[in-house]
Amino acid sequence: MAIATSTLRELYEQMLLIRVFETEAERQYKAARIGGYCHLSSGQEAATVGAMHALDDADLLVTGYRCHGFALARGVPADEVMAELFGRVGGCAHGRGGSMHLMDVSRGYYGGWGIVAGQLPIATGLALGLVRQGRSQAVLCELGDGAINMGAWHESLNLAAVWQLPVVFLIMNNEYGMGTSVERASAVTQLYRRAAAYDLPAERIDGDDLIAVAQAAATMLAAAREERRAGVLELVTYRHRGHSVADAGLAYRTRGEIDEHLAHDPIFRVRGLLAEEGVSDADLDAMLASVEAQVEASVQAALDSPPPAVGTLATGMYAPGSASQFARMLPGAPFGERELVFAGGLGE
């Protein structure tokens, strides 16, 4: 697949946006404006952007908790992602989800999940839903190299294969699950080989090669859409930062190993491609400047957005109309339920 320079520029900008956003998120976390767990995807931009480029607008996306990059590449405005990390109503999850639970149903992004591999059965079910509705789209389900050792992986892949569901499992193999290397966690280190246990097509490629990723993802998603054939795509990449902002990331890998990867930064690689195609340095620097401005603005937008009101504590928990079902539960209710939950938007 040849990618037009104009397209390559866009993808490069997305990669820059992710990197700059993650860098800023770490800064804001350390400034205590972001709480909870915060997992950055710096270094995984080519894998993220390449795969998302192959995903149609009508397709569905499900990911784990390392999801800032996927949300941004899916087109969720940086303002809304940053506001979510700040826990503000302007966030893409209304400030209720935070870093791990980004989502945007209007863009077919069904979350941002925090239980390792818990998103796999759900992605399988979304694909089942597509089939039952006679729709021709596919589901892209991200997981990590560590997640592949959970039972949910096995059950989901078997169901997807037996039921011929249009779902592509995207393994972001960044070589570690927290501090555990793939070698220490998995009996086969070429993770894509596990697809053979379900007779599913699978491929393992350099996840830092933007174009190769986009091509492989396009092929697999097409098979899912057109032949209802599930697939497994393993992208070999690397996590530049620690597991989360709280992890220095040096206890289980050497400085040298990290530097080695930094030297082959996927962003430099794409910058190189654009340079080859005649895009000037000034032009490339301008792109970076505009992305930096965008991220800076997202921080301001987040600050300008108010936190959710305490009165909305129970909002969304139950469907509209549920409040009347719960009305008779008040007597003897635990202390505070009356004010916090029953008056807090329960099922209204």
Binding site: A93, H94, R96, G97, H101, M103, V105, Y110, G111, W113, I115, G118, L120, P121, I122, A123, T124, G125, L126, A127, L128, G129, L130, V131, R132, Q133, G134, G151, A152, E155, S156, N158, L159, V162, W163, Q164, R228, A314, T315, G316, M317, Y318, A319, P320, G321, S322, S324, Q325, F326, A327, R328, M329, L330, P331, G332, A333
Partner: protein
């Protein structure tokens, strides 16, 4: 198994009238059949629900009527297919997932508690999870330690879920239909011993039992028995015995719904009788009856003439031998003894 061709909506049959006496099992089947006819988004999924006609025959005949796309046999993969139900529900489908018995729901509980229950809140209402999980609990057939349990209280403890537990064929139909039509994840707790219970069931396809409303299954003056599912059947038998053998008038409150829990109906009854015995099929410590007793002591503090009593399965992993199992069950003798003791007529 081809599932590409989505079935076309079947016309509504003329609303049937009157009542028919049927088993609890048949009432559940009727509810599913009616809702599948009414709404083609409804489909059934689980182990042996199709070709085998259901491990306990609740889904018998549905495959023949609706085909493999709407009555889907699954591999033995509870975590996988419960999660598949969650995902399909997020897309607006209305899966009814059968778990062969509640003991096996533990391998899938992460999908129910950590996922299904969280969706409405995590998505701020933008995505919902109209999933129904049907599963029987209970002991009584010498099924031994791993197959004789009742975990419904754990799900009732989970905000984001709704938990229903019908005790009569009529409610089996009405509450299962309410669950299927509800937009939230609902666990419908059935019971192995109750499947064969018979009763009158309204044939009207619009017969739906409201969620969150307990029922006074029997009126009485001296003591209130609070129960759900099969324990309600036991309670009603004991109430008869108490009337006959001791001239004691027992009121029986059938909870029907554990989350939401209708404390008002329970409190009204206990305020009237001044005494309560709470009964469940499972282990009472940290169980359903703990919550009921805690609510009663709070809501009826000034009206209670005696401490709230609780009866449930003896707190041991259920042994196989019939003699041991009989002793461990919340049988009518143990319930009656509890009532007599709360009335100061104990041994």
């Amino acid at each position: 198994m081809s599932t590409t061709d989505t079935p076309t909506l079947v016309d509504q049959p003329p609303a049937a009238q009157g009542f028919e006496t049927m088993t609890y099992r048949e009432a559940l089947r009727l509810a599913m059949r009616e809702e599948m006819v009414r709404d083609e988004r409804v489909f059934v999924m689980g182990e042996e629900v199709g070709v085998f006609d259901g491990a306990y025959k609740v889904t018998a005949g549905l495959l023949a009527q609706f085909g493999p796309d709407r009555v889907r046999d699954t591999p033995i993969s509870e975590e996988g297919f419960v999660g598949a139900g969650v995902g399909a529900a997020m897309l607006g489908e209305r899966p009814i997932v059968e778990i062969m018995t509640i003991n096996f729901l533990l391998v899938a509980i992460d999908q129910v508690v950590n996922h299904a229950a969280k969706i409405g809140a995590m998505f701020g209402g933008e995505a919902r999870c109209p999933l129904v999980i049907r599963t029987p609990n209970g002991a009584g057939n010498q099924l031994t330690a791993q197959h004789s349990q009742s975990f419904e209280g754990w799900f009732a403890a989970t905000p984001g879920l709704k938990v229903l537990a019908p005790a009569t064929p009529a409610d089996a139909k009405g509450l299962l239909k309410a669950a299927i039509r509800d937009d939230d994840p609902v666990l419908v707790v059935e019971n192995l011993a109750i499947y064969k219970e018979r009763g009158e069931v309204p044939l009207d396809p619009e017969y739906v039992t409201p969620i969150g409303l307990a029922a006074v299954a029997r009126e009485g003056r001296d003591v209130t028995l609070v129960a759900h599912s099969y324990a309600t059947v036991r309670a009603l038998h004991v109430a008869e015995r108490l009337e006959r053998d001791h001239g004691i008038s027992a009121e029986v409150v059938d909870l029907r719904s554990l989350r939401p829990l209708d404390v008002e109906t329970v409190a009204e009854s206990v305020s009237k009788t001044g005494r309560a015995v709470c009964i469940e099929e499972g282990w009472p410590s940290y169980g359903v009856t703990a919550e009921i007793a805690a609510r009663i002591q709070h809501a009826c503090f000034d009206d209670l003439d005696a401490p709230v009593e609780r009866v449930g399965m003896a707190e041991v992993p259920m042994p196989y031998a019939k003699e041991l199992e009989n002793a461990a069950l919340p049988n009518e003798d143990r319930i009656e003894a509890a009532v007599l003791s709360t009335l100061g007529r104990g041994q």
